[in-house]
Symmetry: C2
Subunit: 352 residues, 2 copies
Amino acid sequence: MLNEILDNISRPSDKFLQLAKNRTDNLLMPHKAMGRLHDISEKLCAIYETLKPEIKNAAVFVMAGDHGVVEEGVSPFPQEVTGLMFNAFLNDMATVSVLGKREGIKIILTDVGSKYEIENLDGVKNEFLSKKVVKGTKNFTKEPAMTRQQAVECVEAGIDVTLKYIKENQLDIVLTGEMGIGNTTPSAAIGAVITGNSVEMMTGKGAGLTAEGVLKKIEVIKKGLKLHNPKPDDALDVLAKVGGAEIGAIAGTILAAAYSKIPVIIDGFISTAGALVAYKLNPIVKDYIFAGHCSEEPGHIKMLEYLGLEPILNLKMRLGEGSGAVLALPIIKQAANLISNVFTFEEAGIPK
Amino acid sequence: MLNEILDNISRPSDKFLQLAKNRTDNLLMPHKAMGRLHDISEKLCAIYETLKPEIKNAAVFVMAGDHGVVEEGVSPFPQEVTGLMFNAFLNDMATVSVLGKREGIKIILTDVGSKYEIENLDGVKNEFLSKKVVKGTKNFTKEPAMTRQQAVECVEAGIDVTLKYIKENQLDIVLTGEMGIGNTTPSAAIGAVITGNSVEMMTGKGAGLTAEGVLKKIEVIKKGLKLHNPKPDDALDVLAKVGGAEIGAIAGTILAAAYSKIPVIIDGFISTAGALVAYKLNPIVKDYIFAGHCSEEPGHIKMLEYLGLEPILNLKMRLGEGSGAVLALPIIKQAANLISNVFTFEEAGIPK
């Protein structure tokens, strides 16, 4: 199934990109005075193959999983918190739920790899799906995080869930998010392998490590990479050996968006690790991705540079969940509105 | 009337600022993981004196005026375009109208100093008010742009219009915007005088000057400053000698917001020149201001640094009209939502 998707992702329209650039050049304003908003408008036109893009239905896919490597002391929170947060996401207590609700976005929480089993779904306010591939990954300092087959299943779980909701809800844009105690560690590992930057450059304090904790985390990642030697050009090898279930599912969401010819807003560090995996599986996905924000996690900007993506917001955030993608959505909606509805000089009857 | 307003602006609440900081510290996330969004939340709490801020009714005040100094060749557009754009603003053809409509914001266009007389208001889609103080400013390379009395009247016009709409529409936030061919020139002049930066540092290409045009613009500004020698600590002197009617009215909007104890989002370079004038009249206004974005006009960041304000967006825009303020509004609304509705660890029953 993964190969079927990978083989059927095609480039956005060059023709509509060019038409959009022409329209931008003639909008009723000093030339390109809305700066980066024009780039966003034009990318949307190319993706949707229209000069009147309009974004109506969005959903954020929050992929959950946790990480055996947490036993090495790489997170200030215990692994169980992944499970406790399920309740918070589903009942509008957590940030992405609260921000998403205001923006009118559906929140879909999918358990792809948590140790935890959710017990009570009575009366929850958001969608929950179980697509559990692993009950937490293995500690990658001792054995591979997952098998290659499990890695494929995680990506496929993300594709499945995303395609289902795109179809059922006529989504015209999707957002990525995640929850997983410890997941900056596999993300930094994936980032180091795929971008070629050093582990030191890719590793930060995550949910709040001390400087000493960060040094420990760097050693843990180096140990895993030395033990498994994942191949940079084989994304599934990297994902299996030092990755995580939710990171694979995020890659799946991105592939599903590109396959469906709709844009995807990626959130921060972990989501961008997912984007690296998706990009290595099919580089065309890049043309469907908007980077919602730049995280405080120092490796994030390195990942974005590797992908050639410029973040929309830069508010020193480092939460994840999808919070940065949700915050960027209104900017992207306005970029669609700009090219669709601002008049050209000619349409307004004003000499240029 | 101006003095009455200036004497009745009081500081936001230190008590609520502190209470808000305490709540931020306990929100269900790694400590302060939403970065600058927390600063915005806390400032809103201090202004509104609540821990549950909610922004419902916004309006953007687009102040219009034009500039005799345009005859010195400081703009690529002729002065008449200010008037032609009135029609575009009022009939949802222009950027701020299009963006504002999507965001559900009232657009109020006020003519404070245009040469042009609007002829036809039949069926227009936005509000128009005439509060004309001057029919275009004078060319400040030859005489003062306005008299001191006219400068006061421009600020008062801005206060008047803004207070009226705050009251009639229960506005809980106001946004600044403007239209005026040539108005980066007086803004750069005000910026140089008030911040103490050189004219060279404060001057950019505006609506699209060539490099040669920018050099000419610098000479024009220097000539005006040498001729009039405006006093940096006397904002009305600066506004009268080298300013503009719409810049004075923007200062009025900012003063009216602070007087009414509601926040104001300032737009780009020209709006921030207005903020410099308001700040010099009463420095407390700074605690009510959010800087919507950082303009490509190079002097803008220098003005913001002088005011101690950090821009929310940085999208390389340089349009004005209020476009950057409108784009920043959803971020500020989400900052209010964040502190109002995300649970604390204790409220969610999750150990911290």
